[in-house]
């Protein structure tokens, strides 16, 4: 055998290897939150379609940072919150418009689909469809701190060293509402917004002594509440319900000034490699019975029409206990964040932390 | 120590050494029944000795004989299991190494590599709290005395092996110790330098008048330098004496074998007379020898017999006026080493090898392999030891030249 044949043989072999790795295992690389792609659902999807799902768990900021770093590559489908779609697209151009014709819109609660479409439109193109929605509010141990009804009650000296919240933008927004401001209305007016934020920053600085620790991961918050080290927290509703299942004294409470409503969406990263699989996944998880499974695992409800009846009765009861009809009306839904606000918030948060 | 007290101690020291010349010597070190047991074995077994002031005392023994343990007990790094160490009339039991009037030159000298020469020598003085100007002065003085004036600023690495040796000595001697312990300090030097340092060490010891306790496994070092040598084996002192005594009147077979070279035979006593013993060796020779132990050797008793190569007379013809022993041999090998050349001869009758010194006379100028040779020695030069004394010696070393 001469050198040439060896060479050509090895090139062919290498080519075959590359080809097989590309074609053999069709793959969906999903960038999402914890609980949004439970194992059971993935297995069913793989069985039905033969597509492997690779899940990377993340949060809003990390999702955007990751996509920013790769200029929209590395994942086939991502799930940022609705308010982080339009601004991130404008600033960093990391998403790809969604072809709504490939989405089975009959599976969606139409009002939510419309709302998300409206808020994620940039230059006339739609970038997101809704998936899971929920709210931030208060988790309260009612046996000890039943009178914590609004965000600012966390600063009550009665509970000094016994409360916890995040040092992130939802806290700023929540406190602003509780202090009688409307930060969402000021989104378009940076000067006004800055003024509100400074006021909130001052409040949070004063409140710092009350805080046991600023939580960052959901599990840290859950263990603080479960162990009784804290008696009230600002956190997600799902967390409250999870705690409620273990200890009926603890539950999620919609604050007087309104819970903060968010919708996590589906977006296509700009350099998605398997768009078809992404659409398949969206249509798959929006089936009512599948969506109910996700509600089970994530703790939050989805935008899937009719999934309610597949959801466990206990979950519904917890939901109804936390939200009266007027509480639901009072939910403040996050509008898209305009560019620049994060810098203002960042400075405030830094100062609170350093105080 | 104050600045003024120092010259005083120097004068008192010289006064003492003058006194020692007139009176019976002062005892610097007395060891009384020292034992040292380690888990499972006895390193030092009931050793007692005294060292007079100003003498050069060597402890000679093979490795593992316990000499290092003994020295380390003198320095205070080990504690005797029983017995007492008395230095200048003071018991050293319970006295820490840094409080003893004893300094040690380590095997690899242990000059501190992080300090220069001056700092190395000044280390001990700093510990005594001697004032800085005085340290400088005393360091310079001791450097001058060891012949290295002006090298105080050098680093340890810049000095040759011999120079380091002298610095290690100076570092101890500057403290005027009662005893200076030396742990085979010449071991690391090459042969030529070692020969040179032997003489230099002896000279420095004389100059300083300090009592030296020197341990070594090299008999030549011990013989050349020492006033007194203790031969140590298996934790015990076999013999203490002057180099001359050890060489010419060894009291045990071990000393005879260890100090100097010897031809060695094993045998049994054939008959005994007033003048000599008749020994039948294991290879069939009949040798007349002189008993060395006080014990009377009777017929049939096992003995070991030593004859030094230089004690054997060599001739090419048989000697008519025969001395006590004469054997006909054939030259096997000539080991030429100038004045120290040796002949290894094969005894005709037994086939055993005998080593003798090659006489530097015209008669032997053309000596070559297979030439005939006649060896003679008197009974007094064939030292016999009863085998009881050397039960510990290995039997397979029979009839070979022990190298000491």
């Amino acid at each position: 055998m001469n050198k040439k044949t060896i060479l050509s043989a090895s090139i062919m072999l290498a080519g075959a290897l590359v080809a097989s790795s590309t074609f053999a295992a069709e793959e969906l690389r999903l960038l999402t939150w914890g609980g949004y792609a439970p194992k059971e659902v993935i297995e069913q999807f793989e069985k039905e379609t033969g597509i492997k799902v690779k899940v990377t768990k993340s949060n809003n900021e990390e999702m955007i940072s990751k996509l920013k770093a790769t200029r929209g590559a590395g994942f086939d489908l991502a799930q940022p919150s609705q308010d982080r779609v339009a601004s991130a697209q404008q600033d960093f151009n990391i998403y790809k418009p969604i072809d709504l014709s490939k989405i089975d819109s009959s599976q969606f609660i139409s009002s939510m689909l419309d709302a998300t479409r409206g808020q994620s439109t940039v230059d006339g193109k739609v970038y997101a469809v809704p998936h899971v929605w929920g709210s931030s509010g208060l988790i309260v141990n009612r046996s000890i701190a039943a009178d914590v009804k609004d965000y600012t009650d966390l600063c009550d000296s009665k509970y000094a060293g016994k409360v916890t919240y995040r040092l992130k933008r939802p806290t700023l927004i929540g406190f602003a509402f509780a202090m009688g401001e409307d930060p969402f209305a000021a989104y378009s007016d940076p000067a006004k917004y800055k003024q509100i934020m400074e006021k909130v920053g001052m409040k949070l600085t004063d409140c710092k002594a009350n805080v046991k620790a600023y939580w960052s991961g959901g599990d840290a918050m859950l263990s603080l509440m479960r162990s009784g080290e804290t008696v009230a927290a600002m956190a997600w509703d799902a967390g409250g319900w999870k705690l409620n299942s273990d200890n009926s004294d603890i539950t999620f409470v919609a604050p007087k000034s309104g819970a903060l409503g968010w919708i996590d969406t589906f977006v296509l990263p700009r350099k998605t490699k398997n768009e078809a699989a992404a659409y398949q996944w969206i249509n798959f998880v929006m089936r009512p019975e599948i969506a109910a499974k996700i509600t089970e695992s994530a703790g939050n409800f989805t935008a899937s029409k009719g999934s309610d009846k597949f959801v466990d009765a206990k979950k519904k009861a917890q939901y109804q206990e936390s939200f009266s009809a007027s509480d639901i009306d009072n939910i403040k839904w996050y509008p898209p964040v305009p560019t620049g606000l994060e810098k203002i918030e960042g400075k405030i948060l830094d100062r609170v932390k350093a105080s | 120590m104050s600045k003024s007290s120092m010259p005083k101690s120097v004068t008192s020291k010289t006064a003492q050494s003058v006194a020692s010349d007139l009176n019976p010597p002062n005892i610097d070190l007395a060891c009384e029944n020292i034992c040292k047991q380690f888990a499972g074995f006895t390193a030092v077994d009931n050793v007692s000795f005294t060292i007079p002031q100003g003498s050069f005392f060597s402890i000679l023994g093979p490795s593992g004989c316990g000499k290092t343990t003994l020295l380390r007990m003198l320095a205070g790094f080990e504690h005797p299991s029983s017995g007492d160490i008395v230095i200048k009339g003071q018991s050293m039991l319970g006295v820490q190494p840094n409080k003893r009037p004893v300094n040690m030159v380590f095997q690899h000298l242990a000059l501190f590599p992080t300090m220069n020469i001056e700092q190395n020598i000044g280390y001990g003085l700093r510990r005594l709290g001697v004032a800085k100007p005085e340290i400088v002065q005393r360091v310079a003085a001791v450097l001058a005395r060891v012949g290295l004036a002006g090298s105080g600023n050098k680093e340890v690495g810049q000095l040759s092996g011999g120079q380091r040796q002298r610095i290690a000595l100076a570092r101890c001697l500057v403290l005027n110790p009662t005893l200076l312990l030396l742990d085979e300090p010449l071991g690391a030097l090459d042969l030529k330098l070692r020969e040179h340092m032997k003489i230099e060490l002896k000279q420095l010891q004389k100059e300083f008048g300090t009592t030296f306790v020197y341990i070594t496994h090299d008999q030549s070092e011990a013989l050349v330098m020492s006033d007194q040598i203790a031969v140590m084996n298996q934790g015990k002192f076999e013999q203490v004496g002057t180099p001359h005594q050890l060489y010419y009147q060894p009291r045990t077979a071990f000393v005879a074998g260890f100090v100097g070279d010897s031809n060695r035979w094993q045998g049994v006593v054939d008959s005994s007379s007033d003048q000599y013993l008749s020994i039948k060796t294991s290879d069939g020779l009949s040798i007349k020898g002189a008993p060395q132990n006080a014990a009377i050797l009777s017929s049939g008793e096992a003995v070991e017999l030593f004859v030094r190569p230089e004690a054997i007379n060599v001739s090419r013809e048989p000697q008519a006026a025969v001395s006590d022993n004469q054997f006909k041999c054939i030259v096997d090998t000539i080991l030429f080493d100038g004045a120290k050349s040796q002949i290894i001869a094969i005894e005709e009758q037994s086939g055993g090898k005998i080593t003798v010194i090659l006489p530097q006379t015209a008669d032997f100028y053309d000596l070559k392999k297979s030439d005939d040779l006649y060896l003679q020695w008197t009974a007094g030069q064939a030292l016999c030891f009863s085998v009881d004394n050397l039960a510990i010696e290995s039997a397979d070393e029979t009839h070979s030249v022990s190298e000491g």
């Binding site: 900021e61 990390e62 955007i64 940072s65 920013k68 600033d91 960093f92 060293g161 040092l167 992130k168 710092k208 805080v211 046991k212 620790a213 600023y214 960052s216 162990s227 009784g228 080290e229 994060e342 810098k343 960042g346 830094d350 100062r351 932390k353 350093a354 | 320095a75 205070g76 790094f77 820490q96 190494p97 840094n98 409080k99 004893v102 300094n103 040690m104 380590f106 095997q107 690899h108 242990a110 501190f112 590599p113 992080t114 300090m115 280390y123 001990g124 510990r127 005594l128 570092r171 101890c172 403290l175």
Partner: protein, 287 residues
């Protein structure tokens, strides 16, 4: 002629040998830093050259104070680690022999078989208000109520020292191992007390180990992210956290890059100053 080809071959061989090192340096060290440098100096708005991100560090007290705090805490952690690790290392290197030496050394290593995250959570379980130590204190009657031991600077210090221990012990053990016992004995023999021997003989000998250990521990502490954030709680201001925040939550890569390079620069400066102050040189220590 053949001599020339041989020389050429040798040169080629040398290059091939150097290639991995060269690639490693360029691809993994130099290139990323150039990228950071470019980010930190270019204004994203108009693509022009700007120093604004560096100025921001000096103008905003929050940032340079955070850095100062991080540096001071790291220095303190380094000193504490040294003070604790030295006796440990001395014990391992000089007091223990054979098997027990290996066992004690392995004990220092065991914490590093789990990830830093797990280690830090371990401390949190021990120290939190509802944790093991607090419960023990209450049980034994030493405390009347729950005791919170987390979320203080002392806790951060504890975590940093614990995390850094091994990196101090290893170089110290290896330098102390190389110190022949006869030097120590000579130190006593010539009249030195324990303290004299420690100060004049053991410590000067261990200096290279001390310096390299200190550099490693200082850099590790300065660059640590998890320990201060998790153990420090609400007051844990740490400079790496700032960098993380700039990159991840603020999407402000320019500021993050500037901070990253400043951290590199200022920490190198501190190490250099430390070496100068103690009369050491980097090459002497590492070589």
């Amino acid at each position: 002629m053949s001599a020339v080809t041989v020389a050429k071959k040798i040169r080629l061989g040398l290059w091939l040998l150097l290639a991995p090192l060269f690639l490693w340096l360029v691809l993994l060290i130099i290139l990323p830093h150039f990228e950071l440098l470019a980010f930190s100096l270019i204004d994203p708005e108009d693509q022009g050259f700007t120093f604004e991100f560096y100025l921001e560090f000096f103008q905003e007290p929050l940032y340079w104070r955070t850095f100062l705090r991080t540096a001071v805490m790291s220095i303190l952690a380094t000193i504490l680690t040294l003070v604790i690790a030295f006796p440990v290392a001395f014990y391992i290197a000089k007091m223990l022999r054979g098997r027990s030496k290996g066992i004690v050394f392995a004990m220092c290593l065991i914490p590093f078989w789990v990830s830093e995250l797990v280690r830090t959570f371990g401390w949190m379980i021990l120290l939190r208000e509802s944790g093991v130590i607090s419960n023990f204190l209450q049980w034994s009657g030493l405390a009347s109520g729950p005791v919170e031991l987390l979320y203080t600077d002392a806790t951060i210090m504890l975590g940093l020292v614990y995390t850094s221990m091994l990196f101090m012990v290893v170089p110290l053990v290896s330098t102390l191992d190389s110190l022949d016992d006869s030097y120590i004995e000579a130190g006593y023999d010539l009249g030195g007390s324990n303290w004299d021997v420690m100060r004049e003989i053991i410590i000067p000998h261990a200096v290279p180990g001390i310096v390299s250990g200190c550099i490693i521990v200082f850099m590790l502490s300065l660059g640590n992210y998890l320990t201060p954030v998790l153990l420090g709680g609400k007051d844990s201001l740490w400079f790496t956290e700032q960098i993380y925040t700039q990159f991840i939550t603020r999407f402000n890569w320019e500021q993050g890059s500037a901070f990253g390079l400043l951290l590199l620069l200022l920490s190198s400066l501190i190490v250099w100053a430390g070496l100068k102050a103690t009369g050491q040189s980097f090459t002497k220590t590492m070589g």
